[in-house]
Symmetry: D2
């Protein structure tokens, strides 16, 4: 008979992490994460779930905040689209703005604690530890005005997905998220298209050139819901929170919940925010399905540290 | 001559907090926060800045995430509009959805670690430690269909601010944010109007009743920019981050930056997110002005704990 | 019969927060927190639990990290001891060091983002947004050497509680935690007494004056366990985490768990740390009792914001 | 002449992350982190600094919280000691307790949201998502009583480092931190030795067998200071905060500051805690040196995710 509190009562694996005896490749190192505990275990779960999304040919939604594109994860996102691993992108307007800029001019490494006054004098905008010199926006203005001439020529009122697709088609950079999305027929949803410099230049263009232009958002919402309704299985990978994450889970409600979900987030559960809400909160709403086998997980981490590992482990 | 490291070198106040000798009213207690250090000092700064916003008759932007309306801070936001302390509201779609519901049916207190399966069976949706029974959405559907009939009757393509204003006019609840906003002529901006149940019912209505309806967002962006351009001074109070916070700082760029800014946030600076970015990052972009006197601060805290204190200290 | 998802299924209160109609005193404002949701509800729970600790005449353990004494919460802690609300203090060595200094020379308000090189030149040490000029430590050295002469005269090997008590007896400042503790016969536990400037001056004293002195820690651990064993009911208030928090819950294990527990913490659950572990983790170990009525809660917040509110609500 | 806001003003690298074209080994992947931005850049900096610690043959202090040993990082820490990469260990008492247990019986993988009542019934203690069946402590009791008989035989009052060394010598497990430390002559500092089950069994032993035993902590503090004074260069790797982190920086003050420092932490700067304080705060105190080349960095992350990467990048 089993003594209370002895290991016989437990069929789970032993906790045991990497001991660095012998050489490890990335895959082997990440395998040790499964039994390391805390967040490492969640990352290993995320890799496992992402592999199951692929095995079942799920429609994969990748949602991400704008700063992902500010960072070097832009190239990583583009690679997933390029290789056909993701089917739907949802993001915010800064992503579109900055992906376009980066096709022409790079962002530069910077410092968190820079002297803000000095930066302003030099015309350098700071985004965490990344610098964006102001001439990027001068270039963008010209680029977008040219593009808007065509974009609003055929029709005065357009959608965010049409903007993303048509601008993506004009871009000449294999590391561009928008270009890869356009080439691979992956829609890019972005309901709050005004909320970044793209919006600012839409404002100026509307004031200066054509007061009748508009951006309509119900059409895209219909399509996004249909994407979910038509899918066999769906899997979500939410890198960060906000509107993109919620847009994905809310529209998966129409199909009875996402089959798989991976969140990578620095959000705090205790503030009651959507961004901080863990996957199980979405279960009570029917936004994520509740299965016997683990079909969702959350890695509490800043994405630049772990998203490349998820890709290396599950998609490369 | 001054010994290095002696206090003579410093003209700042002594650190000293509440000693609970004698009775304190709220105002007196909050005054002790100024010299308590860490975040207490930031809250005292926030109160001071909010008072200066009022003294200079600044146009005050209040931005907030949807969960603020899920929580009891809904009544607090409504009170600020009611008393004329704020001039522009920017939020996300969950706020609109839930403010409407609450005019008819309350949300209920719940538990963070509830059994999700059991909740689903009972038809209860969980939002942190708040419960939303499903019948709220049944009620909302009927309410909104009625409203949409009128709303889209005059014009097929409408704006989020028009939605907020016209729905607000129909509501009969003095604690409603939308009702107070409509009554006091305070615009409610919400670019990503689709991203909540309001969006879902727009989808159903469009599918079932009128395929030509639309929500256009450039018009509102123009108005929001004009609000800033026409203002003498502007002051921002950002409760939480996301699109609402960025919408406020981005559009203040057009006028050379906000004169005052208060952030209340649980965001993490080190993830490079907009939600976590402290006010000084906005200075490098010209979104907030850089003054010699302190004109911005951030309180790192969950809003339900400190927003009522800010209101009690500066606005009551 | 009850429709699934209707409010009939729920007997919990409505979510409703402060509406700022009419004047509110602190107590009334804090009462509205109970139904505001998220962390506000936890603060209201904490106040309720602290009142029950008092009603049942529990032995109250107050544990706190050193930075609490760096901040203005020093005066708040001293007030609780002065008024007889707490019975056992557990802290770290920085608290003892800084409480002594403050009886002679204040800390000064400072800036988080000060120029560190400039501060060093001026002999100013930075502790968050608090400055400690170096002359404080010059003063402390002399003070402690005098004290050590007496302290180690009677016996070469002493305990941290003896240090705290005997030094407290010499202090002349009604806002001193150590003085109030000595006067009110409240023990101050601090196992890692070396880990602050007190430890540094013990090192110098030992090197320079008496190589046989020592600090022994088992004796104190015995007393702390006995404090718990002899108590009728026990209640914990843990302000921050670390050794003080764990020392309290670990020693309450000997009596079958603490009857009440309130945590105030910024720690993160997901890192598996003791500092971030919520009260329910302690239940599985038997460190906190599991009752039907809520007997523990955690407020996720920086302490300077909420600890004065807890005191104002429950103890003033 | 340079146009303001153009990239000519900036000599920093372009932001660019992993694009997953072609195969990457761990080292190559981590190299892409340098220009990915946000925390990834900090991890790349940490690897670079750790390599410079080795190149200059610095005395390397590794400090870690107890939960590191609860997790699979125990094996990783042991590997660094085994391979001679670290010279001084500083930790808390849970590490010693659990390292000893794991030489005989493993910890098991578990669930964060387990039913605490059920766990208690089964005699399973939960530590995040790790389970520790109670029989581990039954085994430990017997083991320690045997050990104490010898340990206190020669002398009644001992030190934490002596405990660690002598217990380490008896252990038979190549993955044990204490065993590797004993074998490789690496001291293990732990001032608050009472604050875990080792302390509990010291209490029982003292009550039951020998009331004269004691643990003295000044002697160890002397040695730790001397370790720093005798070192050519010093480098700190602080995994988590608390007493271990502070013990390392405080004692490096005696030598004018650590030459290199790497922090891995989930702490929050804004709470004014020692655990959350970034390396530059230590610079104002002279605890870390200020150099022109980057000699310190902090990775804001849960350690199980990134510590193995630091080891793989810099030490393997
Ligand atoms: N009740 C809801 O939260 C709800 C309901 C329906 C739809 N949605 C939708 O989800 C999407 C994302 O929500 P969001 O953009 O409103 O914000 P969010 O919940 O994603 O929060 C954004 C950030 O604000 C900060 N924050 C949030 N709550 C806070 C608090 N209590 N205290 C301090 N800081 C806080 C956090 O840093 C957070 O990361 C929106 O489109 C919204 O319409 C939300
Ligand atoms: N002023 C100082 O902080 C100071 C001075 C000298 C020595 N030290 C030494 O540093 C070591 C580590 O310090 P510690 O153990 O006192 O704690 P700590 O500062 O390391 O904090 C431990 C945890 O408590 C929580 N916490 C801290 N401050 C908080 C706050 N304001 N609000 C809410 N939660 C908070 C956080 O989760 C944190 O991780 C100790 O040995 C101490 O003696 C500290």
């Amino acid at each position: 008979n089993v003594v209370p509190g002895s290991e016989e009562a437990l069929s789970t694996p032993d906790v045991r992490g990497p001991d660095f005896r012998g050489d490890l490749d990335i895959g082997e190192l990440l395998e040790t994460y499964a039994t390391t505990g805390f967040q490492a275990t969640h990352l290993a779960e995320a890799i496992d779930i992402a592999e199951r999304m692929q095995a079942e040919d799920a429609t994969v939604y990748l949602t991400f905040t704008s700063n992902i594109v500010s960072s070097g994860l832009r190239e990583t996102v583009a690679s997933l689209v390029r290789e056909g691993y993701v089917d739907v992108l949802i993001t915010t307007s800064g992503s579109l703005t900055e992906d376009i800029i980066k096709t022409a001019k790079p962002f530069k490494m910077g410092e968190w604690d820079a002297d803000e006054a000095e930066l302003r004098e030099k015309g350098i905008n700071r985004l965490g530890n990344i610098y964006v010199p102001s001439d990027r926006y001068v270039w963008l203005e010209e680029f977008l005005y040219d593009f808007f001439d065509d974009f609003f020529a055929e029709k005065k009122v357009r959608t965010p997905t049409a903007f993303a697709r048509e601008v993506g088609e004009t871009l000449d950079d294999e590391d561009s998220v928008l270009k890869q999305a356009a080439d691979n027929d992956v829609p890019v949803y972005c309901p709050a298209l005004t909320d970044a410099e793209v919006g600012n230049f839409l404002y100026y263009y509307r004031q200066g050139y054509d007061s009748e232009i508009g951006i309509e958002i119900l059409d895209d919402y219909d399509s996004l819901i249909e994407d979910g309704l038509l899918a066999g299985k769906t899997g979500l990978i939410a890198v960060g929170g906000g509107v993109p994450k919620h847009h994905a889970i809310m529209t998966n409600l129409f199909r009875g919940g996402a089959d798989y979900a991976i969140y990578i987030s620095t959000g705090m559960e205790g503030d009651g925010s959507l961004s901080g809400a863990p996957p199980n909160e979405a279960v009570s709403w029917g936004k994520i399905k509740d299965e016997t086998e683990t079909n969702y997980t959350q890695v509490e981490a800043e994405a630049t540290l772990v998203f490349p590992l998820l890709v290396a482990g599950a998609f490369a």
